[in-house]
């Protein structure tokens, strides 16, 4: 119980956020800038931060009445200039075929010009702004989803929230839109928040909505851990640059990745939410206190400090909680051959492959010379291998040769872009990151490949792969 309260001094609560961090660091005129999306867009662009292109803005009923709706592009985003928490945002994917006054939303629903006029009218009336103050509506370019993040997002575009304090990126999370959040990435609206390791830009833990911890995207087998955020380094730089330009001392930077433009700065947030702590399973207050009073000389310096101080910690935690060790995409391993002979090799970790394979030459060194010699006498070409008959062929060969060929423990069929092959499989264990794995390896000619061994999914169940390592 006492520990619990001690831990609470590391977590940032509403009271401390407002009083200690927002009040002294985000002065009211800079807060006004952050709340005015059109103005902050302009300011950021002038300071060399890429932002979504402004298409048009409507600030009065008369402009609305005279607006030429045919000037709108195929797809766009309609936003209230002073909207809160992602409310009032309308995302349009494309013009409905054969019409010039109807569009299709992310949900597949059709919106007509009349619907859009109504929406703009509500925005002008202040239906989405703080205390119903009259507001301006604007149209901006719709960003295109980057292919790296495509599998993880439902319809809308994911974005990355980075908290910056004293020019140092402190904590970050990837926000994924879900069915419930209607293509918007805000956690308040039911999106998913995924914690990010500051040093490497790989994701760690995830939260659905405000506080539900999850491992996979609901209703799918998409693991939320270990996603490498593309352009991570650039993103950290943009975030720090935006903080310096906006003069917001305590900033929540929202950055999205466009398929063609790369990282694009979406929004300045003067009152960043606290759920980022749940997504990262870490306390923000402790991190903020660590960089209090540091004198940061440049954008690069700030990024470096953030990466050094707040990276890796999570990796250790991850190993502790999952019981799995984190490995990179290439690992030094020790193979244990037929008579206990040990050979050290650099192996490629290939999560795209199911089983592990070793090069013929390596197999010979490990003591599987005879297997190879006898295998090579078999004419595997005579089997017409297809995905349908692979099981039968495997069984047929195994039944026929398992007695005559010592050490042949199985037969593998592998389909790849360079053609399908039938390979002999031997038992062979290896040691990676101090863990011994008993594995079955298929033997293949990898002479022209960079690595003489690949380790596939089947033998990786004790590990988590960090692709940036």
């Amino acid at each position: 119980m006492f520990d619990f309260f001690k831990a609470s001094s590391q977590v940032l609560g509403m009271n401390a956020r407002n009083l200690t961090y927002i009040r002294p660091n985000n002065l009211s005129n800079t807060k006004k800038l952050a709340d005015d999306k059109i103005l902050s867009k302009k300011m950021l662009r002038q300071n060399g931060v890429p932002v979504p292109r402004l298409i048009a803005q409507i600030s009065s009923v008369s402009t609305l009445e005279n607006f030429d709706w045919t000037t709108l592009p195929e797809s766009f985003v309609l936003k209230p200039n002073q909207g809160l928490g992602g409310a009032g945002i309308l995302i349009v994917y494309g013009r409905k075929k054969g019409t010039n006054n109807a569009w299709v939303k992310s949900s597949g629903k059709v919106v007509t010009t009349q619907d859009i006029i109504e929406h703009v009218r509500n925005i002008l009336d202040g239906a989405f702004s703080l205390s119903n103050a009259p507001d301006t509506a604007f149209f901006e370019e719709r960003l295109r989803l980057a292919s790296e993040l495509r599998p993880y997002s439902y319809k809308g575009i994911p974005d990355i929230r980075i908290i910056i304090y004293n020019k140092v990126p402190v904590m970050a999370m990837l926000r994924l839109p879900t069915k419930e959040s209607d293509g918007k990435a805000n956690l308040q609206q039911g999106g998913i928040g995924v914690g990010i390791d500051m040093a490497t830009g790989t994701t760690t833990t995830a939260v659905l909505g405000k506080s539900k911890l999850i491992d996979y995207i609901p209703g799918s087998r998409m693991l939320l851990r270990g996603i490498q955020i593309p352009h991570w380094e650039d993103m950290l730089h943009l975030a720090v640059k935006a903080q310096i330009a906006s003069k917001l001392g305590f900033l929540g930077a929202d950055i999205a990745i466009d398929r063609e433009r790369g990282p694009v700065f979406l929004e300045l947030n003067a009152r960043p939410g606290l759920s980022i702590q749940v997504a990262n399973m870490a306390g923000l207050k402790k991190r903020l206190e660590r960089i209090e009073g540091l004198s940061i000389k440049s954008v690069e310096h700030g990024v470096r400090v953030g990466k050094n101080l707040f990276g890796g910690e999570i990796e250790k935690n991850l190993e502790k909680t999952s019981g799995k060790s984190v490995i990179g995409s290439v690992e030094e391993i020790t193979l244990i051959g037929k008579n206990g002979k040990e050979i050290e090799v650099r192996a490629k970790i290939d999560t795209g492959a199911y089983s592990s394979s070793i090069d013929e030459e390596l197999a010979v060194k490990l003591g599987y010379e005879k297997v190879l010699q006898q295998w090579n006498k078999i004419d595997t070409e005579e089997y017409k291998l297809t995905k349908e008959n692979q099981k039968e062929i495997q069984k047929e060969i195994l039944d026929k040769y398992s007695k005559s060929i010592d050490d042949l423990s199985d037969v593998a069929t592998v389909f790849s872009s360079s053609g399908s092959t039938i390979r002999p499989v031997v038992k062979c264990s290896f040691v990676m990151d101090k863990k011994k794995i008993s594995a079955q390896m298929n033997i293949v000619d990898r002479q022209h490949m960079k690595y003489s061994m690949i380790i596939g999914k089947k033998n990786l169940y004790k590990f988590l792969v960090d692709v940036s390592k």
Binding site: D3, F4, K6, A7, S8, Q10, V11, G13, M14, N15, A16, L19, T20, L84, G85, A87, E118, R121, N122, D125, G126, A127, F128, N132, Q188, K210, S211, L213, L274, Q277, V278, M281, A282, G283, K286, N317, T321
Partner: protein
């Protein structure tokens, strides 16, 4: 120049007596003196417990309305809660009913208020027909105050969604009821508190240092211990 206090009663302080001598009704004095206490309660529940409600004004004024309604007849409080719920339910239904009409904000709220008022009137009539004394005994203004809650509810519903609005309305109701229990003369604790405040009205000033303390307090709220319990478990 205030007239001098001739005798210091055990019941009320000199100051309160003086005010009452100027023909200010005792109910008015009591409720005005209770208002800062209710405001303090709302602040305490927000900063320390983490209950949000509709700001500070709405829960305070609803609590006052409850106290006023319960003053003559404590059993009226259940009617007051009924009215509160009717206002919210009708307000919410009206939002869905009016959605398709695509009206501007204020006219839409006006229609909502009209329907809500008529519903409340129906409830009052029904409640009156059930008991002889009836709810009709309750004053107009407390009821009106509860009705105006609907605007707040509708605007929150638009801004943050129905779920958030319902949670905030529930929190507001709880705060108002806590205020009623602690401060109404028809409850045991409430009688003690009101007696105390009429005897020592200056005690109200003691609340200000407490407000300052709450205004500087940066600890986690009780609700945040729940919200971050996974994180706290992990990092301890």
């Amino acid at each position: 120049m205030a007239s001098p206090c001739i005798y210091n009663s055990k019941e009320v302080s000199c100051l309160v007596q003086h005010i009452m001598e100027q023909s200010v009704p005792v109910e008015t004095v009591t409720i005005l003196l209770l208002f800062p206490i209710i405001a303090t309660l709302v602040v305490l529940l927000r900063q320390v417990i983490g209950m949000h409600a509709f700001g500070i004004y709405t829960p305070s004024i609803i609590a006052i309305a409850f106290i006023a309604i319960g003053q003559n007849n404590p059993s009226n409080i259940k009617h007051a809660v009924t009215v509160y719920l009717v206002v919210l339910i009708v307000g919410m239904l009206m939002r869905y009913a009016l959605k398709k009409l695509r009206l501007l904000y204020l006219p839409r709220v006006a229609i909502t208020i009209t329907v809500v008022t008529l519903s409340v009137l129906a409830v009052l009539t029904f409640a009156g027909s059930l008991s002889r004394v009836g709810f009709a005994g309750a004053d107009l203004f407390p009821i009106l105050i509860i009705i105006t809650l609907v605007e707040k509810f509708v605007s929150v519903q638009i801004e943050k969604g129905s779920r958030a609005a319902i949670i905030l309305a529930a929190e507001t109701l709880i705060i108002a009821l806590v205020g009623y229990l602690l401060l109404s003369t028809s409850t045991a604790i409430g009688t003690k508190v009101t007696d105390f405040i009429l005897r020592y009205p200056y005690a109200i000033l003691m609340l200000i240092p407490f407000h300052v303390f709450l205004g500087k307090w940066t600890g986690l709220r009780a609700a945040e211990y729940i919200r971050f319990h996974e994180v706290l478990k992990k990092i301890r």
